[in-house]
């Protein structure tokens, strides 16, 4: 707990320090590759026969996902706090890779906790983390996925806090993490707003992002919260379907509870035991969700929907074939949710989707399922 107080204080000072902000901006730009483009997906817009689709290209960040935004911020903070070691949990391996990257960049030791199940399905990212000099520790307790990796990282931190900073990868965990991660990810929404005003001279009608813990969604949404004409849609993974027990749809099916120091929606059984989640996307495989998303849902400012694994795969394939962009499976859920929303929208409207990461890490998973889907898509293509 003292660790959290220490972090809270350090962050409160840093966020107001012009020197810290300058360093953050410079590092995001020169090392992270910001600003990321806002790209109009013309062929996808055409296919969906709906509004104009813009993609915020977070997949073009260094390391291939939005995760680096938060990691650069927290690594700079860790350095200010004189910590010599970084630890993190990771699901898809994108956050772990980003942490391993900033650890190398700033000369810090690095340990990543990853569920044994995830290590198998996200093998390329495990290799990347090791190549960057990080130690990757398989977590076999519980369900051997993201929530257990988070528990294990918290256990490490409780014992190592004197010299270690824990970079939580999403807007979850105890305060100040949800707020701090949101702040560091808000660069997505701030840039997107500026870019869409330049291109369209107006704000978008709808923002869409996938929601696991919720960091890429909140990063996009937060700077638009006061622009009430802009609707916001978060898309959770319905896995095999909401009517099955194999999903990760926390906001759709959870009820309030406490996990990892946050009070938010939680997938749990009658007795308050946390339920295992299932989705094709390792990055969305978390039974909790950032408390600010629960708040946005309850207040009605944002709405949340789900897409099941098969719809996400279909959307993934469409982006590959129509736009030449291979999206992460996580981001494919945003695409699937947007596609559904587009049906009820006019052609002069604008949807802005957060393309949170690139899909190289998911090749094995996608390819194993692609044949049936590919046949279907080719068929649909021939019909046009």
């Amino acid at each position: 707990m003292f660790a959290l107080e220490e972090l809270q204080r350090a962050y409160a000072v840093a966020r107001r320090d012009p020197a810290f902000r300058r360093e953050l901006q410079t590092t995001l730009k020169d090392f992270g590759g910001r600003p990321t483009p806002l790209y109009i997906a013309e062929r996808l817009s055409e296919r969906w026969q709906g509004p104009r689709i813009y993609l915020k290209r977070e997949d073009l960040n260094h390391t291939g996902a939005h995760k680096i935004n938060n990691c650069i911020g927290q690594a700079l903070l860790a350095r200010r706090m004189n910590k010599s070691r970084l630890i993190a949990e990771t699901g898809a391996g994108q956050h772990g890779t980003a942490v391993a990257t900033v650890a190398a960049r700033f000369g810090l030791q690095c340990t990543i906790y990853m569920g044994a199940v995830d290590m198998e399905r996200q093998a390329p990212n495990v290799e990347r983390m090791r190549l960057l000099g990080a130690e990757v520790i398989p977590v076999t307790s519980g369900t051997a996925t993201l929530k257990d990796a988070t528990s294990e990282a918290l256990r490490d931190w409780a014992a190592s806090v004197e010299h270690t900073h824990y970079i939580i990868g999403s807007t979850v965990g105890p305060h100040p993490f949800p707020m701090m991660v949101r702040d560091f990810q808000s660069v997505i929404g701030i840039e997107a707003k500026k870019q869409i005003l330049e291109k369209e001279k107006r704000l978008p009608d709808l923002l869409v992002a996938c929601v696991g813990g919720g960091s890429n969604a909140l990063g996009l949404f937060y700077p638009f919260v006061k622009d009430t004409a802009v609707a916001m849609l978060g898309v959770e993974s319905a896995g095999d379907g909401l009517d099955t027990s194999r999903h990760a749809a926390t906001l759709a099916k959870g009820r309030p509870g406490v996990l990892h120091g946050s009070f938010s929606n939680l997938l749990q059984d009658h007795d308050g035991q946390v339920l295992p989640t299932h989705t094709i996307s390792a990055g969305l495989d978390y039974p909790g969700v950032g408390p600010e998303h629960s708040y946005l849902k309850q207040s009605g400012r944002a709405t949340y929907t789900t897409a099941d694994d098969s719809r996400a795969l279909e959307a993934c394939l469409e982006l590959c074939r129509d736009e030449g962009i291979i999206p992460a499976l996580e981001s494919s859920f945003a695409l699937a949710g947007a596609k559904k929303a587009a049906v009820d929208m006019r052609r002069d409207q604008i949807i802005l989707i957060n393309l949170s990461g690139r899909g190289d890490k998911d090749l094995a998973t996608v390819l194993s399922q692609i044949d049936a889907a590919a046949t279907k898509t080719r068929h649909a293509g021939a019909m046009r």
Partner: protein
Amino acid sequence: MSAIASAFTHSRAEGRAALIPYFMAGYPSEDAFCRLVASSFDVGADIVEVGIPFSDPVADGPAIQRAGQSSLERNITIDRVISMLTSLKLKGNQPVVLMSYLNPILQFGVKRFLASAHTAGVRGLIVPDLVVEEGKSIEADCQSASIDLIYLVAPTSPPERQKLIMKRSRGFVYAVSVLGVTGVRSALPDNLLTRLREVKQMSRLPVAVGFGISSPQAAARAAQVADGIVVGSALIERMNTEQNEHNQVQSVLDLLGQFRSATTLKSTTTDIARK
């Protein structure tokens, strides 16, 4: 005086630290667990701490995690824990302290949980993922239910925070001996006694020390300063070396007897620690 306070008064009068074994509810079986709790008092335990299993026990090391997982697989719910404790017909001088993560209690309903726990002989509650900043409402509910809410104090906490925790804790203060999670450690930190003395000077309540008390020797050392010793993982690990339930229970009771001797007569514990 609460049952917990008088347990400490009693042990102090005998010139020893209170012995507080921890058991995971329903582990290794419901029957063996019940025998362990009841017999612990017979071999000299002053208070018994009982863990309620949780799917994501972030404060616990591998031994307690696995025991909890085993209990969950056998459907040990709060209702089962209460009914097992009720069946023991605990006496007034056999106080039980429950250790539960926050979520199972919240879902059960805090007031209902405390009322039924009290009826079953529970006199104290430890919630490892409850911080004082969020504790006001549960503190009030505990007070109405005559259950002491016991807070953990970490060695890394600065004195101001330690003072705040001690002010808000009831029954006793649970000092975490080492950073990190529960579980046996080969050695306790060198400055443990110094730190414990500092904590004790600030505290109006008895101070029990736990996390990482691996052996009677380690307990003896901590007992030079602490008013109570909590031992959990070491008992579970001992239990796990035996095959049948009878031996599991017996081996734990034997080990507890050794802990009791080690924490008795503080003047001689120094000698044991030096060996």
